[in-house]
């Protein structure tokens, strides 16, 4: 191939970046790869808003049929977002035998198998490096570079909005709401931040990363998902005193009996490679049985970093590599066996607890004996100052315990008359020895 016609569908933030790179770098890319990648259409319902990119007028269209009917378009970049409309349009592109490049994690996490199956039948490829962790080439790493490995875990900070908020809470002692407000002011959080802060976006990315890492298909709805919207400033502070930072992690782990897939605020030891991933940056740790521990770091969102990933996918289409990766590497959910997601009760790990008790002699003993009865052994305790209401928070970390035991212990704790408020608890990533 020495020519590839491209259409960009969805002229928003990322679309604008992709258009800019494809226009600015056309000759340079042609010199480097010997293929002329021509941007032929930029399609959006709104083609009048200024996107900060100079686009020749004749490229702009509101008519998706024009894209589909152009036989010179060999690759459609789908950047509309959302699920239903994007699904419909993507299937139409595939039906017209056009290769697809997309950053749409919500669609791929929930309808990936359907999209991939249609593409396989049509003989075209679907590429999605930009769907996870922006400019970090994590899909290529998991799919290609680590192919000699059985991947044991993939653990990431994959949502820049949440990481920005948690970093503010940690570095400035801000409350969740203050930090969210600041993120919105700076453009790092949407007006309606729900899908970011409740963990949905991270869970979408986790499904995609896990499907490639483990070569299994996963049911998105079975992924445990807890957001950062209930994280309190004081727990961030207590965690800090204990040598931890709180991060929203997307965790995928292979076990003998299945796979853990879970998104939740997590305490990370301050020397963990992900602990220093701050602000809007993303980071992903991958452990393979051959390569050992690796980590990747970069901007996880935003116009240009995501455009960098999208354009690398377009180049892969131009060079025929996308067809190889899509058609020959059997790691996508339309050809994989379903993977069993281990129920959360079966987790074994360490935990952070804040129990709010009446400040009376013997209370700590009572608390720890309830924990002991449920096989929860305490690793460290931080007894905090008296609160106005006459209760004190007792902050603890545990040794490794089964999560079902922990939740049973907490249920029983909360029935004690000395325990006055809801117990706050979070998972710690890493075992006793780490």
């Amino acid at each position: 191939m020495d020519y590839l016609g491209v259409a960009v569908v969805g002229f928003g933030t990322v679309g604008g970046g992709v258009v800019k790179v494809l226009l600015d770098r056309r000759r340079e890319l042609q010199r480097e790869i010997g293929v002329d990648i021509e941007l032929r259409h930029v399609c959006d319902l709104d083609i009048t808003t200024d996107r900060g990119v100079a686009v020749p007028k004749e490229l702009l269209t509101t008519d998706f049929q024009k894209v589909l009917n152009d036989d010179k378009v060999g690759c459609v970049v789908h950047l509309v977002g959302g699920i239903e409309l994007e699904r419909k349009m993507m299937l139409e592109s595939i039906g017209r035998r056009k290769h697809v490049v997309t950053a749409n994690k919500a669609l791929l996490a929930t309808k990936g198998a359907e999209i991939f199956k249609a593409a396989a039948e049509a003989g075209v490829s679907v590429s999605f490096e930009a769907s996870c962790a922006g400019g970090i080439p994590i899909i290529a790493a998991l799919r290609d570079s680590f192919i000699a490995n059985r991947i044991q875990s993939v653990i990431g900070i994959v949502n820049g909005t949440c990481n920005y908020i948690l970093t503010s809470m940690s570095k400035k002692g801000a409350s969740y709401h203050a930090a969210l407000g600041e993120a919105q002011k700076k453009g790092y959080a949407e007006a309606d931040p729900t899908l970011d802060v409740n963990g949905t976006d991270s869970a979408h990315k986790l499904v995609i990363l896990s499907e490639i890492a483990f070569g299994k298909s996963f049911d998105y709805s079975a992924v445990y998902r807890q957001g950062i919207d209930t994280v309190e400033a004081r727990d961030v502070q207590y965690a800090h005193e204990l040598g931890y930072v709180i991060k929203l992690l997307a965790i995928g782990k292979a076990r003998a009996d299945g796979y853990e897939l879970r998104v939740h605020p997590t305490l990370l030891s301050a020397d963990h490679p992900l602990a220093s991933v701050d602000g809007v940056f993303n980071g992903v740790c991958v452990r393979g049985d051959v390569v050992g521990d690796t980590a990747f770091y970069g901007r996880g969102a935003g116009r240009m970093p995501t455009a960098s990933a999208v354009v690398s996918d377009v180049v892969d289409v131009a060079l025929g590599r996308a067809a190889i990766a899509f058609g020959r590497v059997r790691k996508l959910p339309h050809v994989s066996e379903p993977g069993r997601i281990v129920p959360m009760g079966e987790l074994v790990g360490r935990y952070y607890l804040r129990v709010n008790v009446v400040d009376k002699p013997g209370v700590l003993g009572k608390t720890s004996s309830v924990l002991g009865e449920h096989h929860i052994s305490i690793f460290s305790v931080l007894q905090k100052e008296l609160r106005p209401a006459g209760t004190v928070p007792v902050v603890m970390t545990t040794h490794e315990a089964k999560e079902a035991d922990l939740t049973a212990a907490i249920d029983e704790l909360e029935r004690l008359d000395v325990v006055k408020a809801k117990t706050v608890w979070m998972r710690i990533e890493g075992n006793d020895s780490e």
Copy 2:
């Protein structure tokens, strides 16, 4: 292709790992990529030493001609090391139209253009992901994933031996010789560690990384190279007091007037992503104009991490991706223009200095006025305790300065009668504002 015959030439540490993975994972890889990758020969002069891998006897051979004459071998993995013998054997493999996979950075950094040219003429590929930073997929990232970018810098800790030694010096206060001895005892340093500790190995890797990052060819002999063998424990300590760690960095930077390619001990601010890369781990930071700042982290050497990279290259050969990357992406030195390496005197950066002066009033003033005359402005000073000999070390960091000015200032300083010993100075990575 649904079959690829492979020979491994060089049955040492890495060779043993590659053989193990190819034997253990043959069926699994076949399921994943649809190609049966068969290990047909393991060739070494020594085939009797136990390598800790069970190899069917009939695969072992001391006769390289047997490899060349086997028409079913489509890919030869060259892991002999060194330059002349490897060059000769690799050119023979290429001459017999066998794809080559190698981890040999010394050969590629010094004779890359010759090897690549021969391969291009023979219509075969040369893959070398394992040549730099072991299991970290940095070649693929620079060549493929960041193709939309103009790479602005690639800065890495790419030698695990040096990093282990510097980490010991930093964390335990060990002397260079004590740390080297410990590294040798643990198998992290060779009996003759010269090529690691004097920066040669890092410079080889820097040339390869820079050629791909910047799409230029570079003359290895023009790369500035300073090792860690002269780093003193007290400078590690002073750097620490000033908020820095000392790392051996391989630095490639694009400038308007050429490229900086240099390997030297460097002061890194403690919050730099590479500052926390400790022990035998490697880390590489890449800055692209589209993607922004990224970083990669993993084991940079050792049997299995390097095998992970070698096998991913073999899979690329099996899938036809190696031919695309090698033949179509024009970023290798046999097709690139030469890049100008900027002389060190033209560097602009910040510096660390330890000037050893007589403890007399006015000495600091004299020192700083010499610096001032050469346009060197002091950023911070740490005046240390009196030494037995009656001299005190004055430790300083500078604002940004031209390196030619700095070396001229140091020359003049050393002519002062109050300056008693050789001035120690090192470069700081990062500018005033970072």
